[in-house]
Amino acid sequence: MTTYFGVDVADVIETMPSRFRKEAAAGISGRFGYDLGEAGRWRLAVRDGDAALAPAEDLDDCLAVVATDPQTFVGIQLGKIDATEAMALQKLTVAGDRGAFGSITRLFQKYLPPGEEALPDTELVVLKQTISVGQTFATGPVMGRFLKGLKQKKILAMRCPVCGRLQSPPREICAVCRVRNTEWVEVGPKGEMRMLEYVYYASPDPLTGETRETPYGAIGVLLDGCRDEEVFWHLLNPAQLDRVQMGSVIDGQVRHGSRLRPVWAENRTGSIDDIQYFELDD
């Protein structure tokens, strides 16, 4: 086999089971594929804290498959190549469950080329933890009244007494005019989509610590009764991500976006979750 950075690809692969940190793998199981192009293909089976590795032709049964060239693979193992950069350059791809693959790669101790002893001072200690502190968030009178409105399937906005601008969710004051908002009005609940953030990237939700499911769509809806930039922020039915059209205005020319309606939750408690998401109002 060919060597890269002075290291044999096979040595990196074959030492994987011995570098597997059993104590950290409790409760993790699954098959993971390594497609290293000309160097070959392997399947890593993780179960009950054990890891077994075998050459494999077919990786279709794997939860996730990483595909890269042997040089990139060895370079990443040795810390000579940055995995994120390799992904940005398409030199490394992960098909399937990226999250699961990410958690598996962290279960291995760092690869050390033959002859390099793991001296105490070369081991760099890492501490992983999820920090969680319970919180009691107050609504205050303004956000409270708005959220209570959702319970009754009403979307409320506040109007600035000076410029007339509507804000929903409402604010205590109009930032532009620097006066207290005074008048409540009901808007929507239907509207037109003006903005879609089509999110492919899975990140943790700090309110739960759980990783979000992707893809999802965060949207801005111009609710009926609103104008200009008075856009309402929520989610789109993920099944309709590819069926919606964003509206826009260029040089005063308006192009209308898809009509949307809220889908109300069965049990409403006075929170953002009282609207499950918006969907096409066909």
């Binding site: 001072d121 081991e123 760099l124 501490l127 999820t130 920090i131 009178p141 700090p206």
Partner: protein, 155 residues
């Protein structure tokens, strides 16, 4: 100044702040922890300019900004209590059910005491100057808790 507005629309929503973290001990901190873990030895660093042996070790002397990376010295796993308190308020971030003793312990050969748990003695019997020794942890946490706690010993 009292909030005298109508609070009928006000309520609270329970939630949390929960995010994942990965802390790096660095070269100096790692050597301290792995030596503790693998050899049950407690290491400090010596700043010659300030004539001080610091525990826990650090890369830079904050007094003179001298580099202490390679100024390792072993200190004893025994020492004496120089100060202590008894933690009696229960909370999730605490390492033990309360009450427990949190002591400042000056190890043999060190000039700066460390803060650690003192067990094996009722809190009311703890006294300044008493001799204590480290009890090393059976499983590593990769922190200073690779010393599980200190316990009283013969002087």
């Amino acid at each position: 100044m009292q909030s005298d507005f109508d609070t009928s629309d006000c309520y609270t929503i329970e939630g949390k702040l929960a995010l994942p973290y990965t802390y790096f001990a660095g070269r100096v901190g790692s050597r301290f922890i792995t030596t503790l873990r693998d050899q049950h030895k407690i290491m400090g660093v010596r700043c010659d300019a300030c004539d001080t042996v610091f525990v826990p070790p650090r890369q830079t002397c904050e007094r003179c900004l001298g580099d202490l990376t390679d100024s390792w010295c072993e200190v004893g796993s025994r020492g004496r209590v120089v100060n202590f308190t008894v933690v009696r308020y229960p909370d999730r971030h605490l390492p033990r059910p309360v009450p427990y003793v949190l002591a400042m312990i000056l190890l043999e050969g060190a000039d700066t005491p460390i803060v650690h748990l003192l067990e094996g003695i009722p809190p009311e019997q703890v006294a300044v100057d008493m001799a204590v020794e480290a009890v090393f942890a059976e499983t590593t946490t990769h922190t200073i808790r690779d010393i599980d706690h200190f316990k009283p010993c013969d002087a």
